[in-house]
Amino acid sequence: MWVLVVRDLHVHFVLENMTVKAVDGVSFHVSEGEALALIGESGSGKSVLGMTILRLLPENVRVNGKILFNGSNLLDLSEEGLREIRGKEIAWVPQNPATSLNPVMKVGIQVAEPMEIHLRIDRKSAVQRVANLLKFFDINPPEKRVNEYPHQYSGGMKQRALVAMGTSTKPKLIIADEPTKGIDMTKKVSIVELFRKIKKNELSLLLITHDLPFAEKLADRIAVMYCGQIVEVCNVKKFFKSPLHPYSKALLNSLPSRGLKPIKGNPPSMVNPPKGCKFHPRCEYMSGRCLEEPQMFEIDGNLVRCWLYD
């Protein structure tokens, strides 16, 4: 069963004197009980993709394509219809705690709010549940921490409070944007544990992350984004052993454990992206064909956008 299906999605920002093609023809799906990790270059369109699914984007955006959730196209829904889905059916853990938490509201009350609205429980029991969540995430002492304001939390605590808030309502699909950013190994274990539990209950996860070991632990499949496109969708085991796309190979080679070697050349512009394959100016395997845009090729059930696999 496919819970989420994205078809040929384009998201363009129109600024004063340019258009930013942040998402440029993306298709993928997430199945029931599956965790799909979306990894890739910084600035390649991962967060924008996530925010488009929940329609959390500013006015100056042009969106084309289809986003099917439970069979209906989210892009056609009214704001009211969407409110029924946002937070309740699909939850969102945003990338930036600083801009996502209200500085003048106690953390306990903020984290409790989605539960009050969507699970229809009263404030007092919701805050009690928040205390339990904070305890689970090692934010101690929880009875005291629920009454604190965001600035009284350390960076990693804010991050975990956001994860608690996003996952508290038992939604069908959770989209989490960098949920482990700035969190140490020991605390990361609680997040992994939580997401494993979520998966066991047949709920689905779309994990946007730069944390490759985290993706390896949790994901069933890996989708790789580069310059607004998905260039590879691959089974997790295969991906970390031998990824398909040249960008993926180069990315894995710049892990600290493999010597901190960056990919040569500059990241592409989304205003004037390279012609043909967008990775070709930086690619070791470049040939004349790469000036033409490659389609997705299927190899043993995995997908890759590269002429090497024609």
């Binding site: 600024l15 890739g40 910084s42 604190e148 700035g182 190994m185 600290p256 454990s257 901190l260």
Partner: protein, 297 residues
Amino acid sequence: MIKGINLSKIYESGFISKKGIVAVDGVDIEIREQETLALVGESGSGKSTLGRILLLLTKPTSGKVIFDRVDLTRLRNRKLRDLRRKMQIIPQHPEDALDPRWKLYDSIAEPFRIHKIAGKDDEEETVHKLIELVGLDQELLRRYPHEVSGGELQRVVIARAIALNPKFIVCDEPTSMLDVSVQASVVNLLMDLQRKLSMSYLFITHDLELADIVADRIAVMYAGQIVEEGIGVLKDPLHPYTQTLLGITTPISREAITPRGCKFYNLCPERSSKCLNAPKTVEMSGRRVKCHLYMEH
């Protein structure tokens, strides 16, 4: 270069229970010229607070900060502001650090304006050079903070921090929003600058592998204290906490209560009755450890 002596920070909280949170607890720390000290330790252990204290962005409750032989805690605001061009921060959350109403160009150019350094043409050229150094397109400069990605913003903040060729930078999780390839180029850039300009870094990170690569020395923080510090700490950890951080041993409980004595007592696999008294820091062949196991009794 920079030295903190017996630094503490207590955050008073609540009107009812006047009990404060001890975020930093009697820390001595020194970072030499052209040296990188990596600061690791679990979330909430006081790393950001300590980093901000060294720049006097947070006022310590007690203790001294000596920078270039001057005690910063005793300086007037104006003097401190002049010194600021030599000390910068790459903050943990870049979204907090930039004015949302300013275009990114103006945020990067701000240090030049405050310190009245460059003329307009110079300023533009330098800002363009800086944004290129961190691997971003000049076109980005005309956007607002909410119009770029998390990792792009993080690099803008890095560009701003290195703008005035400072002597000391507190890098607080500087690559937490970057993919591993961009992380590699940013880290290489910081290391290059360090060599060229003899900079010193306090490098706060949760990535122990990265810490091991960038650091000359490593300090491990737990509950507001530096419990171990020196060279090769992550290869050959001495303190029981460092060992649990590396996953070599596991804490014996999940509950981190510390009524008195060693703060790690309740979790420590190697605790004994001695540990109910606070341990002292002992120095052995260049390594400093705060643990009874290494004290002479």
